[in-house]
Structure formats: structure tokens, C-alpha cells
Symmetry: D2
Subunit: 103 residues, 4 copies
């Protein structure tokens, strides 16, 4: 998910991770559907809340994985190449982490 504009080097080992992220998002989509069905069938709200917390946790795990991947690939590669691109990638990462912590 972090292809730089100019090189394709860090694609190696990428496809297996992409499949893993898609499977995780697929499970999250299923959980969201499950919550819709719970609301539809008037499930007790505490049980719905338990499911909402589980989905939130699963989404945060995906986000933390993406942050890690962003830093290991995009930030590191940009830093090695040097120049303003590295600063920009780090600025983007900081802003994303900020949104994540506050979300």
C-alpha cells in the first residue's frame, strides 16, 4: 500500500500482506453486517456495544499495521533517498497517527 511515486523496490513481499489486509477487512465487513442484523432484530444494546468495540479494536489493529508498514517502507526508503520527500512522509505519518490516537 506504500508504492512510492518513483520506484517500485519495496513491492517485494507486498502481495502476501495485501491479501492478509483484504482478509482482515473482509472479516470487519462481516462484523459490521452482523451489527446491522443485531439492530434489525432488536438485540440488547449492551450486546451490540460489545460487537462495536470488537470492530473498533479490529480497525485499530489494521491501522497500526498500516502505520508500521508505512514507516518500515515509505518513511525508511524516503529517508535513505534524503531530501524533502522524507520530511513530507514523516509529516504525513505524524498527522495520521494524530488522527488515529484521537479517533
Amino acid at each position: 500500500m506504500c508504492p512510492p511515486a518513483d520506484t517500485g523496490e519495496q513491492h517485494h513481499g507486498y502481495h502476501s500482506e495485501k491479501g492478509a489486509y483484504l482478509r482482515r477487512m473482509g472479516r470487519i465487513a462481516g462484523q459490521v453486517k452482523g451489527i446491522e442484523r443485531m439492530i434489525e432484530s432488536d438485540t440488547y444494546c449492551i450486546d451490540i456495544l460489545t460487537q462495536v468495540s470488537a470492530v473498533t479494536k479490529a480497525l485499530q489493529a489494521v491501522a497500526l499495521g498500516l502505520v508500521d508498514e508505512h514507516m518500515t517502507h515509505c518513511v525508511l526508503d524516503a529517508a535513505k533517498r534524503g531530501g524533502p520527500e522524507a520530511d513530507q512522509k514523516i509529516k504525513e505519518a505524524s498527522d495520521a497517527i494524530r488522527r488515529l490516537v484521537r479517533s
Copy 2:
């Protein structure tokens, strides 16, 4: 979403809210699908993170609405009826809030 085991009184005004919750979950399901497509098409990970944070925020808003509804209906009604049911409803609410804050 908070029908007590024994009475159905607090159902009044319920159906309109149920529709609103279903619409919100429908939008969240759409956002989750959107994230899957972003991963599929190798979107830049920072842009995916922005979407993941948006979905997390939307889920937390749903959860906070459910907590509020639980307290306004289930807890309040149980407290008025008195007895151990009220304590149990509050205990359940506390546990759900704990999971929510920690998720």
C-alpha cells in the same frame, strides 16, 4: 435496542431511532467496502489510514449513542422498578463503557 425482558414500555419512539442506527451502520458498511477497494487498488497507505480513522470515529459515535440510549431507557426504567435488575443494568453499562474507552 433495549427491550427489557419483562415489559415493552420503552419501545415508544424507538422505531425512528432504529432506522437512524441502521442507516448509520449502512454508511459504515459502505466505508469498510471502500477501504477494501483502496487496499485492492494499492492506494497510498496514509489515505487508507485517514479512512480507517473516519470509520473508527463513526463506530464510536454509534457506540456513544447506544450507551446514551441504554442509560436513558434500560438503566432508568430498571432503577425506577428497583431491585437487583437496576444494579445489573448499571454493571453491564459500566463494563461496556470500559470496553469502549479501552478499544
Copy 3:
């Protein structure tokens, strides 16, 4: 910490808990002082972050305890007495939980 304006009934069993909360806040104050010393002595920022996360967790635990106490005492008592006071207490609790989840 939840004395209602008009009665003092739920004070029973209160003083021991108050002592426990004061001890917890005292420990948190000590941790905050420790972080100040870490910054002063140029400690590695990752180690400071670990301490900041620990203090945040400790504060959240205090907050969750206070929410629980508020619901078990203030909300429950107001609900038993009935009237608009119960709605207001629940509204206050919902707002506090919202701030807590979003903080």
C-alpha cells in the same frame, strides 16, 4: 464524590473509596513528576512515551471508576427518586463518557 444536593445517604462506604482515589491520584502525581525529571535529564523519547502511556492508562482507570461510582450512586439514587433530576444526571454521565472516549 457524588453527594447529591439534597440528601447525604450515599455517603455510606464513601470514605474508604475516597482514600483509595487520593492514593491513586498521588501515584499519578508522582509519575508526572517522574516524566518531568526524564525530560530534564534528556531521557530517550521512547522511554518517556512509555511513561506517558502508563499515566494515561492510570488516569483512564480512575475515570472509569468515577463513571461507575457516578452511575451506581448518583444516577441510581436520582432514578429511584424520579423526576427531571434523573434525566439530568444521565445526561451528565453521557456527556462525561463522550469526553472520556474522545480524550
Copy 4:
């Protein structure tokens, strides 16, 4: 707060930020003392919760600042130098962000 083991280059511009962090932690220490006094004087628990949320937010802002500084200085410098040190610094940052998001 991010002096590398072997060089001191990124100290430039550091002292002013250190002063700012110390002032922020000083304010947080004052807020924590204020919460202790609120508990001591039996303040209404919702008002205490408001203060606890404010302190949590202030601590998170400090943590986000430290993460940003860590990436802008430690991670970037290590990445430029290359070698396993960069991977380790990024791993440390990821772990710290994980603790932060989950705290």
C-alpha cells in the same frame, strides 16, 4: 529527548523545545494536584471527570509531540546513517504508537 548514542547533531534547536515540554508537564502536574484537591473536597464526580479528560488530552498531546520529534530526529537520522539502527528505531516507534493508541 532523542540524543542518539553516537552523535549529538540533532541537539540543535532542542533546548527551546525541552523548555516547552517541561512547561507542559508542569501544567499537567498542576492539573493532577487540582484533581486531588477536588477529590479531597468532595467535588461532584462529573466535574472531576471533566478534569481527568482534560489531563488525558494534554498528556496525549505531549505524547504526539514526542512521537513527531522521535520520527523527525531519531528515525530520520538513523535512516540516513542506514543499517539495523534505523529498523530498530522504527520498531521502537511502532511499539510506542501501539501503546499510545491502546492507552
